[in-house]
Amino acid sequence: MFNMNAQLNLHQIINVEGLANMLKINSLDSFLKIGAGLRGKNIVFTPNDRTRVPIEGWRKENEVNDYPLRPISVVSKPTLVTGVDSSCIKIAETEEGTIYAVKCGIVFCISLEIVLHFKIGPLLLYLTESSLSDSELDNKIVKLVSFDPDIARRMIRINTERLVQSELAKILHNSLILVDGSLKLSCFENRNYNLKKIIENCVLHNNTLVGIGKSTKFKILDTVSGNLRDLNGPGILDVSLIVKSLVRNAIGLNTLVKFGGSTLLLRADIVEKDIHDAAAALGQILGNDPIPFGYPECLRMAHHISCFSKPDIAGIKGHILKNYDVVELASQDVRTNLLGSI
């Protein structure tokens, strides 16, 4: 009888005020007061959880303009510019592990023309606890990779790209090797072809390694980029001081770069000793890569080559079903099934 009464009077026992009081003593309490902090701020909405950047930058006030800025001059001397990119997707799961597929694209430009491209893959990887344990990865990282597909994908991409960059660094001479994203040491680095070794080979063969990021999560860089933004042409701004203070394992000269008069600012890590050499290297990129939208064409094309298409994914499934004697089980999307729609 007591239970029945409790059920009937549930709204008296747990009411909205009670819930609100519970939140006040919560650790989220300080974040919940959004009004004062948010009022008057610039805002960019991020639909579908995607990163978006304001076209004009974040802040106009408190701009700091004493970071070294250099315009970039086009260097027309024919130099090979190489772009490397990769992508990795989760394909399937088994009782013991997960199957991933990776694709890699390598594109070569010279004298403003794309001359050659390589399409590597799709290659399949089967990650199980035992196969991960056999690798040289740290035990804690093995656990992370086993349980988190995002981390696993990252690990696969880094290793694939490093392998390709390592080979390129050895084969090429007096060239530029462009990679997608900033240059920083990762916990997934392999002993044989890690970033340090790649840089070493680049130096030996007189190659320049450049990591180009499409955006940065450091909003502070916006406050220092005013001069570069206003520059009527290609330019480079050395922000190593800021980046190195925020990122422990950042490598090379950390810069903000603009390849055209009114194009977007990019983050670029350049393995050169100073901003003069870095500007010269970027000038070689300008003189040899078409750079149609303020972003190197070889990287853009390498990205498209490495992307998985629907036929690729269907092809991978067909390959697995045909060649590995697997039994496909009926499956369901748990979230869709349980949550459905209203």
Binding site: V107, F108, I114, V115, L116, H117, F118, K119, I120, G121, P122, L123, L124, M301, H304, I305, S309, K310, P311, D312, A314, G315, I316, G318, H319
Partner: protein, 483 residues
Amino acid sequence: MRILTKNGNELILLALNSEVVQKGDYLLIDDEKHGRKMIIQVYELDYLTSQGLTEDIVKDEIILVSSKENLLDPLNIGNFSKLIRDAKLVRTKIRSSIDIAGKISSNVSWIPSRVYSKVRKLSMVEIGELLNRSGNRPINIGRDGITGENFQIYAEDLDGKLNIITGKKESGKSHLSKLLIKSLVEHGAYVLVFDLNKEYDGLAMTKNGKPSSIGDRTVSLEPGGLLKFRLEYCGKFAISNILKNILEMPSTSMREFMRVWDKLECVKKLDMDSLGKLINQINMNELVREALTSRYHLLNNSGLFSETNESGIEFESIISIKSHGALIIISLNKVSGIIRRIIVELVLSKIVELLEKKLVPPIFLFAEEAHLYVKETYWDDIVTRMRHFGIFTTFITNQPDALGEGVYRQVDNIFLFNFLNESDLDRISKVSLIDNDTVKSVVKTLPCRHCLVIGKVVRDLPIVTAIPEVEAMTLGTTKKFFH
């Protein structure tokens, strides 16, 4: 192949590149779980298309033209994705099902399982067997485009039937009509052809100039030559029909003509010479005399009538001599439009008379571009009336709208060759015995000498065949300046 969707009586299948089917092919869906089979026919082929797939193809093409590609695909997964890009949607029409006894049934009130059904192509031999036709006189009218299997119809299924052979110029209509004529004569039938281009004479000879299998059974009649009739043989009915229908003689003049004819008949002097003299001598109104005289001169100058009563052809004599079938070719190539019409009227009237009197057996009539020598209404009459006397007509035309609705309503078999013109296709699809989609899609893409056979000869299962070569001399080809 896998079943994807069904929409009305249309089934859409998914086929990979290795599974080669063509428009017009028949497929058998074997629903193994439920023990039922369905017969479907391919009428359209499309690519499997989605926005993503199209974008991928465009992207790949752009990358390929941008620079030279080097591919490292150790697992050969690229081949799988190429298969997907080349996957096709096979649009089919449900035609019939096969019952437990293995016979064709029109019961298509069920749909096959998408999971348990197996789809395979039906061979021409299998289709022939399924059609459950019976006949002792096969006519090989083609072969399957891919496997080269023969497909036969039976002469019995053309017997007593009205047929149309139609298609655009140089699509192979005459070719098929020659094949049918030759085969019918080989099987002992009597065939009458109105030949506009003097091309059917070639059937009497092989390509190297030797007599063909029907060489001794072919009679070619040319106006002014062998095609000459005695007035008495033609008879009052046939001549008065010509005067009335072709030469549009008024009724008063017709009465006077009958009087003249009767007088000549009484004195047994029915010949052109006597007819002309009597028209000039007999007492009648001068205007009527003038009307009769002008028509007389036209008939006399046509070269169709013998001067005296001694020479002239008789169809029953030809047929009695050629006891194992005959091909009678009436050449219409060198005569004017009005003479053509006179010839056709005369020949048909005489044949009907002979059939009524049972002096000749039923005859197959092949009329090429009939609208050029007979009015539309007259053909309606021919197909409705003469069919009962024993004239079984096959029209050959490149203008489907030249034949009246009445002809199409009574048609038993249609042999459709390629048409590209939309209005012709519209006309054909309205009157044909199958759905619009099949006619429009299949006929538009038929190669030369391929035809879609519809009707009783194929038990209403439309079939595409490639018409084989006719072992006969090619005549009637277009004269050219440069060759």
